[in-house]
Subunit: 503 residues, 2 copies
C-alpha cells in the first residue's frame, strides 16, 4: 500500500471514530435531557456495546499498520497542515487508546464505579477516611496504566498528556507558580482595598422562564449559532459535540450569576466546536483540541468577554428592560457585582480571579502525591493548608476540603491543570486579538460581535484540531505559553475595580 492509500486508511478510521464520538455525545445529552428513569439500565448496556465497537477501531490491523507506517514518517513530507493534523491526531488517539490492556481498562471501570460510590458516601458523611482506600487504589492503578501508554515518561506526565496533548509538566509547574503568586499578590491588594462590592442585585430571585429566554438571547447575540445546536437544562452544565454542525449547550437557572455565566462558558466551547471549516470537517478534525485548549475558549467568552464592562454596556439596558430587579441598579454596580472577588471552597462557583488557584492547588497535590512528597494520610491537612495559604480561608471539614471534586473517583488524575491552563491561553489570545483588532471591545460595547467572532473564527475556531494546542498558540501569538499576559489582564482589570495601584 502506498502513501495515499495509507493516508486514506487512517482518514477512514478517524471518520468512523468521530461517528462513535458523536454518538457518545448524543448519549450524554440524552442521559440528562430525555432518557426516562426506567430506560437507564438498557441504555448503559447499549452504550457499553457501542463503546466496545469504538475501541475496536484502533485495535484493527489497519490501525496498527497505519500507526507503524506514520510513527516513523517525517511529518514535513506530508502534503499540507491538514494531512499533518490528521496523522498527528490519529497517532495521539492510537497511542492513548490501544496500549492499555483490556483487563486494566476493565479493572479501572469497576474500580471507578466503586470509588464513585465511596466518594459519595464519604461526601455525605464528610469523612475522607471512607474514600481514602479507593483513592489510593485509583492513583496506583492510573500510574500503572500510564506505564503502558509510555514506559519512558513519568506516569503523571503521561496522564496529564492524555488530557492535554503535548503538555510538559515542569513547564506547567513553573507557569502555575507564577500565576499562583501573581493572583495571591492581587488578592492581597484587594483585601487591603477600601472598595466594598455590593452584589445583592444578582442574588435576587429571578423568574426561571424569563431568565431562560434572556440567556438564549444573550448567547445567540454573542455568537452562538442555534441552527447548529440547541439548549438544555441540567444540574452540572456542559456542551456536547453531537456533530460538526450540532453542538448543544446546557445551563441551569438556580441563580442568575451561575445561569448566565455557565451558559456563556458552554457557548464558548460550542462556538469553538461549531465553527470548524468544511475542509476540517471533511478531514474529521472538527470540534477542536480538547482539554485546556477547549477550556481556553469557554473561559475566554465567559470571563474575558462576558464579564467585561463593554459586554454589559451593550446588554445591560436590555437586562434592565426585562428584569425589574435591576431597575434601580446602575451598570457600574452590576459590573462590580459580577466581578466581586470572594474566596470560597468551591471551584465551580469561584470568581474569575481566584478560580485558577483551585485547579493549581489540586495539580500541586497530585504532583506531590505521585512524586512521593506527600501521602494519602496527610491529604486533608495538605488540602486545607493550601486553601489557607493561597485563598486565605480554611475548610473546616472534609466535605468543604479534600472531598470537593468527584474527578479523582472517576479516574481523572492529571486532569485539573486544564482548568487553569485554559486561562493562560485565553490571556495570551486576548493580547494577540487586541493587537490585531484594537477596537474589538469598543465594537462589543456597540453590540457588534463580528470583529470578535471573525478574529476567533479565522485564527482559532475554524481550524478544529488541525494544529496541536502548542502549534495553534504559536501561530496566533508567535510565542509559547506565558503566564504574564493573563496576569497583566487580571491586574489591569482588578486594579480598576478595587482601585489599587499596579506596582
Amino acid at each position: 500500500m502506498g502513501f495515499q492509500e495509507k493516508l486514506q486508511s487512517i482518514k477512514n478510521l478517524m471518520r468512523d471514530y468521530k461517528y462513535y464520538e458523536a454518538l457518545s455525545s448524543l448519549f450524554t445529552w440524552e442521559q440528562w435531557q430525555q432518557l426516562p428513569t426506567e430506560g437507564n439500565d438498557y441504555r448503559q448496556k447499549m452504550q457499553g456495546f457501542f463503546t466496545g465497537k469504538m475501541g475496536e477501531i484502533f485495535l484493527s490491523d489497519t490501525a496498527k499498520q497505519g500507526a507503524i507506517y506514520f510513527s516513523d514518517f517525517d511529518p514535513s513530507l506530508l502534503g499540507d497542515d491538514m494531512e499533518r493534523g490528521l496523522v498527528r491526531s490519529f497517532l495521539y488517539l492510537y497511542n492513548n487508546t490501544t496500549k492499555v490492556p483490556l483487563e486494566k481498562q476493565v479493572e479501572l471501570a469497576s474500580l471507578t464505579a466503586k470509588a464513585q460510590k465511596m466518594w459519595q458516601e464519604a461526601y455525605q458523611a464528610s469523612d475522607y477516611s471512607i474514600f481514602k482506600p479507593a483513592l489510593e487504589e485509583i492513583f496506583r492503578l492510573k500510574m500503572g496504566i500510564a506505564k503502558y501508554i509510555d514506559p519512558n515518561k513519568h506516569p503523571f506526565y503521561v496522564l496529564a498528556g492524555s488530557a492535554d496533548e503535548g503538555i510538559e509538566i515542569e513547564k506547567v509547574n513553573l507557569l502555575f507558580k507564577e500565576l499562583r503568586n501573581g493572583i495571591i499578590k492581587i488578592l492581597e491588594k484587594i483585601n487591603k482595598s477600601s472598595v466594598n462590592i455590593d452584589d445583592s442585585c444578582i442574588l435576587q430571585q429571578f423568574d426561571k422562564e424569563e431568565l431562560k429566554t434572556f440567556i438564549k438571547y444573550l448567547v445567540e447575540a454573542t455568537g452562538y449559532d442555534s441552527s447548529r445546536g440547541g439548549f438544555g437544562e441540567v444540574l452540572h452544565p456542559f456542551a456536547v459535540l453531537i456533530g460538526p454542525r450540532d453542538v448543544r449547550i446546557t445551563t441551569n437557572y438556580d441563580t442568575f450569576k451561575f445561569g448566565v455565566f455557565a451558559a456563556i462558558h458552554e457557548a464558548g466551547h460550542a462556538m469553538y466546536a461549531q465553527r470548524s471549516n468544511d475542509a476540517v470537517v471533511d478531514m474529521h478534525l472538527w470540534g477542536g483540541n480538547m482539554g485546556a485548549f477547549h477550556e481556553s475558549q469557554s473561559r475566554f467568552y465567559e470571563n474575558i468577554i462576558g464579564k467585561s464592562k463593554e459586554y454589559w454596556l451593550h446588554f445591560y439596558p436590555e437586562l434592565q428592560k426585562r428584569f425589574a430587579q435591576f431597575e434601580n441598579v446602575d451598570l457600574d454596580t452590576f459590573y462590580k457585582a459580577i466581578n466581586k472577588v470572594e474566596p470560597s471552597f468551591k471551584r465551580v462557583v469561584a470568581d474569575e480571579l481566584t478560580y485558577s488557584l483551585h485547579p493549581i492547588l489540586r495539580f500541586e497535590i497530585e504532583k506531590d502525591l505521585v512524586e512521593g512528597n506527600a501521602n494519602f494520610n496527610m491529604l486533608p491537612e495538605l488540602w486545607n493548608d493550601k486553601y489557607e495559604t493561597y485563598l486565605g480561608i480554611r475548610p473546616t471539614n472534609d466535605r468543604e476540603g479534600v472531598l470537593q471534586d468527584v474527578h479523582w473517583s472517576m479516574g481523572l488524575v492529571g486532569y485539573f491543570q486544564s482548568y487553569a491552563l485554559g486561562n493562560l491561553y485565553g490571556g495570551q489570545f486576548r493580547r494577540a486579538m487586541l493587537k490585531a483588532v484594537p477596537n474589538v471591545y469598543s465594537e462589543i460595547a456597540k453590540g457588534n460581535f463580528a470583529p470578535l467572532n471573525q478574529w476567533m473564527t479565522e485564527n482559532i475556531h475554524q481550524h478544529g484540531r488541525v494544529y496541536s494546542p502548542d502549534e495553534m498558540l504559536r501561530r496566533v501569538t508567535g510565542e509559547e505559553l506565558q503566564s504574564k499576559y493573563f496576569l497583566d489582564y487580571l491586574k489591569e482589570k482588578y486594579s480598576q475595580i478595587y482601585q489599587f495601584d499596579l506596582e
Copy 2:
C-alpha cells in the same frame, strides 16, 4: 459447536441487532425533536454508517452458520417458547435482510430518494404523470427484490410477508372482502339514518399548552408509563422503541380530535412495547411483533377503548373542568362527535368505521397491479372509482386521489394491509377480553384501567415477539383471524349511535 453454543451465538446477534434498532429509533426521535437544521447533513452520514454496521450483523459467518443450522432444525426440539421465539425471529430477520444483494439495496435507496422528490413535485402540482415513471420503477424493482428473498413465492406475497410475518395474501384478500362489504353495508344504513351528528364541539380552538397537559394526563391514566418513555410533538405522530423501558410517543396539537386520538394511538403502540417482561427483554424479543400486529394494539386503545362511551364516562367530567369549550356540551353529544362517520379522501383523519376502506382499496390496487389486472396508466381512475364505490365520494384531482400517500415513493409496496388487518386483530382480541373480563368496560367507566391493562399485559404485551402474530392470536382467542368479530363490534356500536336495526 453444539446446540447451546449455536443458540447463544444467534442470541448474541439478536442482542446486537436490537442495539442498532434502538439506535435507529433514537435517531428518528432526534430527527423530529432536537436535531438542528444544520446538523442534518452529518447526521445522515452518521446514520448511514450505523445502518451499514447493522447490516453486517446478519452478513457475518456466525449468522450464516446459525441460519443453516436452525433452518433445518425441528422447532419442537427447542427447549421452550422463548427459544422457539428467538430462533423464529432470527430466521425471519436473517431471511429478510441478507438475501438482497447490496447493489439492489443501493439501487432502491437511490430510487426512493428520487421517487420521493417526484412524488412531492407531483403532489404540489396535483399531477400523477410526474410521479408515474418513478412509481413504475419502484414496483418493478421491489418485485425483483422480492425474488431474491424467496424465489418460490409470488413477489407480492413476499413483500407483504416482510411487513407482516406469516401473512397469507389469499386469506387477507378474503378477509378484506368481508370487511369491506360489511363496512359498506353499515355505511349505507348510516346514510339512510335520520341521526345528524353535530361535532362542532370538537372543532373549536383549544389552548395548546392546556391540551398538551390534558393529553399527558389522559394517556398516563389510560396506562402509558412515562417513567418508561416520554412525550414529543411532531407533524406526523409516531411511537419510537428506544429501549425495552424507553418507548416515547408523539402527537400534535393542531386539532383536539387529532391530538387526543393520535396520542392514544401512539400510547397503544408504546404500552405494548414497554411491557415486555424481563425474560423477554433478556432474550432480545422485546418490543412486540411489527406490522399489523403492532397496529392492532394502537388501534385497540385508540378506538375500541378510547372512543368508547365508558372511556369518556370517566374522562369527560375532567375534560369539561379543564376546557370551557365543553361546558354546555353533554357527554352524549361529545361521544357522538368523536364517532361521527364522515367519508373523506384522507386515510389519516378517517373515522373508525370507514378507516379500513382506505388501506383495503390500496391493497386491492397493489394486488391488481402486480397480478396484471391493472396498469399504471389507469391508476388514477381505478383509485377514484374505488373511492366512489366504497366510500361514496370521488376525488376530483390526483392530489385528493392517487397521490394521497407518500408510502409507495418510499418503497413501501405490500404494506398497506397492516393498517386494516390491525383492526381485525383488535376486534378479535376485544371479544376474548370480554369473555375473560366481562366487567372491563364498566371498570373503565369508573376510571379503573387495571382489568384492561392486566389482561392485555398478561395475554399479549408481556410476550413481545416470542410468538408470531398468528400464534399469539390463536393463544389468546383460540382461532385464526376472522373478520366477523370486528364487524360485529362495528355493527353494534354504530347501530346504537346512528339508531338503525341490525339485520
